[in-house]
């Protein structure tokens, strides 16, 4: 069995208005992982998901889901995939129960009321099962979209901005559900603008910008490789400027002159900290405290997608 549940090779997509939404995308997604696809608005995240799910026609390249081609073997690949789209798009005149059962049938599954009941209960929707969707709150509608995507027991679940417009409590519930799904072996691919979520949830992360994958990496490795570390020294006496003998460390001084900040590469053995501390003593600069900070995923993301 291939370690990849999803394999994308040289995928391209150009829209009729000549916009090249995807440029030669190559991506492998492993079985059972939570994979976060990050990128600014218009980067190509939704187009990529839609190409995999069959909603847009790719221009070139190949997409395999569990070894099956999404075009030639579309019945097999689509039955393996569940999609929660970004927008809350469903017939609002339907009841929760009807719409989830409709989705199950659409994906070729025989009726299984016990399974649908279990799914609705897990998503705290059971007491709303006879409600029309138009009467539900935004958060509840989002849960309905997830229930629809899970109705046919997919092995790969796409969550396109699943927590957009969802309150903190519901968001936490959703991520608990995602973790539970992962435990059952479901592969989860998510896009989110809440990078703290990706940082907390994802096993691996890809960053897409202008239709190109910039980086694909394990979350821990990405943060280690691209994350800068900052060493902050709280000074006993404020400085007006960084003394000239310390220029080689490219230190920055805060506005009050009370903190010296040193940015260093944590992956290098010779990170310059020991020499800096010696240099400070030699320059007669005394400090009362010292602490370090790691760049957040958000800072790394901004660094990756900033215009060059």
């Amino acid at each position: 069995m291939s370690p990849s549940i999803l394999s994308i090779q040289n995928l391209t997509k150009t829209y009729v208005d000549k916009l090249q939404a995807l440029k030669n995308i190559n991506l492998e997604i492993h079985r059972g992982e939570i994979f976060a696809l990050l990128g600014p608005n218009g980067a190509g995240k939704t187009t990529l998901i839609n190409a995999i799910c069959g909603i847009v026609n790719p221009r070139g390249g190949k997409i395999l889901v569990d070894g099956f081609d999404v075009i030639k073997d579309f019945r097999m690949t689509r039955s393996l995939i569940g999609l929660v789209p970004q927008e809350l798009t469903t017939d609002v005149f339907e009841t929760v129960w009807d719409t989830v059962n409709f989705s199950r049938g659409l994906f070729g599954k025989s009726p299984d009321h016990a399974y649908v009941e279990q799914t609705l209960k897990q998503l705290s929707l059971w007491d709303k099962k006879n409600n029309k969707i138009m009467t539900l709150s935004g958060g509840m509608k989002r849960r309905v979209m997830i229930a629809k995507a899970l109705s046919h027991e997919p092995r790969v679940l796409f969550l396109d901005e699943p927590t957009a417009g969802v309150d903190v409590s519901l968001r936490k519930d959703m991520w608990d559900k995602v973790r539970a799904l992962k435990e059952t072996g479901v592969t989860i691919i998510l896009t989110t603008h809440y990078l703290d979520e990706a940082e907390e949830m994802a096993d691996r992360i890809a960053v897409i910008n202008h239709g190109e994958i910039i980086v694909t990496e394990k979350k821990t490795a990405l943060m280690k490789e691209l994350g800068r570390k900052l060493l902050t020294l709280d000074l006993k006496s404020p400085l007006k400027a960084v003394p000239v003998p310390l220029n080689r460390w490219k230190l920055s001084l805060n506005a009050e002159g009370t903190q010296l900040i040193y940015t260093y590469d944590s992956t290098k053995d010779d990170n310059g900290i020991a020499e800096l501390l010696s240099g400070l003593s030699a320059a007669g600069i005394h400090y009362k405290d010292i602490h370090t900070d790691q760049s957040s995923l958000e800072e790394i993301f901004i660094q990756l997608v900033k215009p060059t």
């Binding site: 069959g54 789209p85 017939d91 005149f93 989705s103 994906f107 070729g108």
Partner: protein, 253 residues
Amino acid sequence: MNLNAVNAIYSFEMARWWRTLAQSIAAPVISTTLYFVVFGAAIGSRISEINGIGYGSFIVPGLIMLSVLQESIANASFGIYFPKYNGSIYEILSAPIATVEILLGFVGAAASKSIMLGLLILATAYLFVPITIHHPLLMFLFLVFTSVTFSLFGFMIGVWADSFEKLQIVPMLIMTPLTFLGGSFYSISMLPAVWQKISMLNPVVYLISGFRWSFYESADVALGVSLFMITIFLLACLVLVRWMLITGYRLKN
């Protein structure tokens, strides 16, 4: 064949019909009843028989066709346009469904509604005028063929339309005039010679003529020609709809 998907779409569409029962059934039946009252009783009593058939009875096949055509187009076009409009089309496009299964679901439901409506109008007509159906099987065949063909046509309009206005344009500006001028209320032979020739360009003439023949064995054009024309129209719609679904015309980017 993904029969569960066909059943899901078909049941969903039929459920929508039942939800809007007044609009779906009562409105066409009431409007047809009004036609009988106005044309059959009030005006019809002053019109002599046409081809040996009382005017009230003569217009029954035309009135059934009028409703069947309009409802087939309206139901099928709305059925596929509404998911496009509200965005839920993503689910159909991402489901393991082949073209034929999508058509069986949407067009099958629209055609079923039209057939039921046609039979309901026929039953209503029995309350007002004497009706004889010489060839019930052929009558039913015409009803089914017409319902399926115009449901396919409506499906195409629904795929093509990108606004509610466009959804209404073809039924209102093309189909309604063609139906009224297709011999619903008169025999083509009653027209001046030049208009008789022009009427032959109207495909609805062949449908109504053939349908009326199955009732009274009286027609404006030969039965074989009617059957041939509806078959051609059905095949043309099938080819076009298939192309739309395979290429993703106005459904997929």
